[in-house]
Every structure is written in C-alpha cells, then in structure tokens.
Symmetry: C2
C-alpha cells in the first residue's frame, strides 16, 4: 500500500490570515470541488500566507501486518534501477529508502554496527499477512535480478527496528564524522524513471568535487538528499559545496525535476524557484502573496521575495 | 491498489493567464515544495483563473490482473456499511460503486437485462493475480458478513464488462425513464464513516418527497449522486426537487462533508460555497481571483462571484 506524499494527506487546515480572520480551508470529505483549493495553497507556503493552527489529516488503519527488508548493492545505479522496477511493476511497497555506501560507513562508525559497507535499500510493506508475504517475495526477486545481495526481511517489530536502524541513525552518523563540522542537506526530486541516472551522476560529482556527501534518499518518491559535511569557516570548501549544489539543482531541473522535494524555498532557493518555474509563474505567486498579505507581515523575505 | 482522486494525479499544467502569460505550474517530479502549489490552485478553478491548455498526469502501469465483482443488498445501509468496512480494513480495492434499487430497475428497463432489483455494489481490483484473488476473497467475506448476496467476480475482460454494464448504463437508463424529462444530478461527498447514514437518510428523504431519484455513488470516496428525473415546466415538482437538494447539502455539511465532490460550484452552488466555508474563506478566494484576473475576463459570474 502506498499513501502518497504528506501534502496529499492533508484534508483541511485552520489558518489565521494576515487580516486576523480565521478560516477553515476544507472539511473531512476525501474529495471536494468547492471553490479554489485553499488547503493546498497553504501546504508548503512556509508561513508566508498565514499561520496554520490546526491540520486535519487522512488516517489509515494500522496494517494487519508490516514487513521490513534490507538489501545491499555494490552498484549504486543498479540499486536505484531496482527501485524503479519495483514501482513500475506496481509492487505494493509502503516505503523504499536508499542509504549509499558512504552513509552506511558513517552508521557503522557511529552506531558500532557491522553492516556490509555497500549501498543499501530499506523497504517496508503493509497489508494482510498473505499479501505482505507475497509482495516481499516479489520485491526480493526483482532486487536479486538487479544484483541485490544479502536480502533480509522480518515482520517482527523488534527485528524490523534493527533492520531500519541504519536509516534512523544516518543523519546523526554523518554529522558525527567530522567533529566541529556542520551539515548542509540538499533536496531534489526527479521523475522516478530518471532517478538512477540522477543519483549516479550526482555521486560521480561528489567524488570529483572531493566533498564528504553521503546520499540518503526517499527513492520511492524520486526524492533524495546529499548530506554534505562542511566546515563553514573553510571558504574554499564552502565554495566547492555551493558549486556542487548548483550543479545538482541544474541536473534535477534538466530532468524535469524540482529544486526541492520537501525542504522548500526559504531564502536560499529563491533564485532556483525563478529558474525552475520562470518569471511569469513567480509573478503569479507574488500576486497571490500580495493579495493575501498586502502588508508583507507573514514570514517576510521568503519564497517569493525579490532579491 | 487505490490511485486517489483525479486531482491528486495532476503533476503539472500549462495555463494561459488572463494577462496573456503562459506558465507551467510544475514539473514531472512526484513531490515538490517549490513555492505555492499553483497546480492545485488551477485544478477545479472552473476556468475562472486562466485557460488550462496542457495537463501532465501521473501514470500507472496496466495491472497484471484486474478483477470485477458485483453483489446485491436488500438493505441500503448495509451495502454502504460494507464499503466502509472494506476501506477501513485496508482491503486493496481500486474502485467501489453503488447503484441503488431504483437505478437497477431503470437499467433493467433500459438495457433489457434481468438484474435482481436490489441495491448493488460494483467493485474492481488491480494487482498481481495472486494478490487480486486474495483481495477478492477478502472483500467477498466482508460483503457477505454485511448481508451481501449473489456475489460474482471475474478476471476475464468480457465478463468484467458484463458485470459493470449496469454502472455504465445507469445515467442513460435513469434519463430514459420518463420521456421528455430532464435529469438534475446532485453531488455531495461526506466522510466515509458517515456515508451509510447520509445515503440512508437521503433515500428516506427521496421517498418522503415523492421524487424519482435513483442514487449512484462513487462510494469508495464518500461521494454520491442523486440523479433526479424532473420535468422543468412542472413548477411544483421543481420546487420539491430544489428543497430536497437544499436538505441534502445541509445534511452533507452537517456531517463535515462538502456541497460538491466533483461537479464544482458554477453558478448554482455559490450560496452553498459561502455556507460551507464561510465568508472569510470566500473573501480569500475572491482576493485570489482579483489578483490573478483583475479585469474579470475568465468565466465571469462563477464560483466566487457576488450574487
């Protein structure tokens, strides 16, 4: 079972508008065509249109059975191609995450584990026991066809936690690799069919640029992060990281993707928003911003601000 | 497998704006957080914000196996409760439709079929053969527990067409019941958990009001239509139909639902939009409309227009 991105699970929101009015953007029906979709206008608006004070979400029952699985790939492109095949064949996977070899190495050092230091996919399956067992077996065979090795799965909760530990520890583990450093997390999303090329080219760029940047991806959505370890006082390194990030975004956009799958525009990606959607679309966003917040009091300087 | 409502499958649109500019609202990535969600602002805007000239949709592979099924219920409330149970238990159904007893009778008369004249559910399942067979059996047992009888299913394409014929013929069949008449199709959507009550109360209201109004529902979404047969020159009948529709919308709103799941606001539901979301939300929609279409040249008089 797939649930969709978080934004697809928002049914309604209570929002305090800049003029002080309080609105509800929708009700509890799964489908509505009642006027403009205010709910999704506010999702991802980064506080620039109003203050969201309540959210109504779609809920799902706890699945009868949940399985977790992990598998290793010596070849990064093959790992991501296996994900594409699983999705294109309609196998019912609840989530698929990638942590690359560098991230696995960081986890081993941080969590004192002895995971094979290869690229790793982590999968989760939800449904009846019968369906889950079948989907796990289907996924296992597709992963093996693409060169995946060491496939392990479990429906036991404590075993599932062990299998997914590397994913949960990854961010902390990467951060801990260079004491005193900070992390700079990128965030692009591309069509699933181009994800293997995008990740492989990005990995080659990381190596060529000489930066420490493990890749952690919500690959089932085509979305991935490079978690770059930086020393902000090292201007030369920062400059290399920034140029790497520019190339990454250009690569994602050239593939029909986006400069941000999850994190948003904020201040840093204002020029990229303009590049991605063009001046007319950004002008439209500015017109909406001005209409709703004419005094510019909601999170000023972000998303649609002129720079 | 469930795919979500059509609006959730729209990735991007090309839109000609009132000022003549042509924008693309997104790219081909499944997830994006790049600025305001213009895509969903235009979905369902009924031509009032711009002219949509291209749409990019999410696609899915043709499923390995598709099954269709039908089942009868003498009790309408039980039929809808069975749908709620199937959804709440997470059974993987691609679509579930209801046609009530009156609609089945209309189909028999129109299509010369001999369907049992009871309330009828029509279901469809997509996936691997193994999973589909399992989900069909699961659904069959839930339907039987709720009093469903005469369950039939098939994975054969010509058999599937026969099983679903009643659904495809329903609108024409209902229209044909009274020569020279017209049909007035309502459209509400409520939370799934309240759907059985909403449909049962609506059915009792149809009977009490003395109108001819078979119920046809996309019940898997909580959305249903009453297809009322009317003679527009009969003022007394029109008045009864209009008061029935007012009560139906009030009932849906009192359950946290919406006055329109699919059809939109147009002209006729402008007062209901105001009632559903309140004056502040509608004022916000008007501000957006004015910002994007200051001259009011896009489908004037609709959705947010003052009446």
């Amino acid at each position: 079972m797939r649930y969709g991105a978080m934004r697809e699970l928002v049914l309604s929101m209570k929002v305090v508008l800049p003029n002080g009015a309080i609105i509800e953007t929708g009700g509890r029906a799964r489908k509505t065509s009642a006027g403009y979709d205010l709910t999704h206008l506010f999702v991802g608006s980064e506080g620039t249109l109003g203050v969201i004070s309540e959210i109504t979400l779609k809920l799902f029952g706890v699945p009868e059975c949940t399985a977790a699985a992990t598998v290793q790939f010596s070849n990064l492109h093959s790992a991501v191609s296996a994900v594409t095949a699983i999705i294109q064949l309609g196998v019912g996977v609840a989530r698929i995450e990638l942590i690359d070899k560098a991230a696995v190495a960081a986890v081993n050092a941080y969590s004192n584990t002895s995971l094979l230091e290869e690229n790793m996919l982590l999968l989760e399956f939800h449904g009846s026991e019968y369906v889950v067992n079948h989907e796990v077996a289907l996924a296992a065979s597709i992963l093996a066809e693409h060169g995946g090795t060491g496939f392990m799965s479990s429906t036991d909760q404590s075993q599932r936690t062990v299998l997914w530990q590397a994913r949960h520890d990854a961010a902390w583990a990467i951060r801990a690799q260079r004491p005193g450093s900070q992390i700079f997390v990128t965030d692009v999303c591309v069509p699933i069919s181009l994800l293997a090329n995008c990740i492989t080219e990005t990995h080659a760029d990381i190596t060529a640029t000489g930066i420490l940047g493990p890749i952690v991806g919500h690959v089932g959505d085509g979305n991935f992060h490079v978690v770059v370890v930086v020393s902000p006082e090292d201007e030369e390194e920062m400059s290399r990281v920034e140029s790497f990030n520019e190339r990454l975004i250009a690569r994602a956009l050239s593939m029909g993707g986006t400069c941000t799958g999850e994190h948003g525009i904020g201040v840093g990606k204002i020029p990229h928003l303009l590049h991605e959607l063009g001046p007319d679309a950004v002008s439209l966003m500015r017109a909406i911003k001005s209409a709703i917040d004419p005094m510019g009091i909601m999170n000023p300087g972000k998303v649609t601000a002129e720079q």
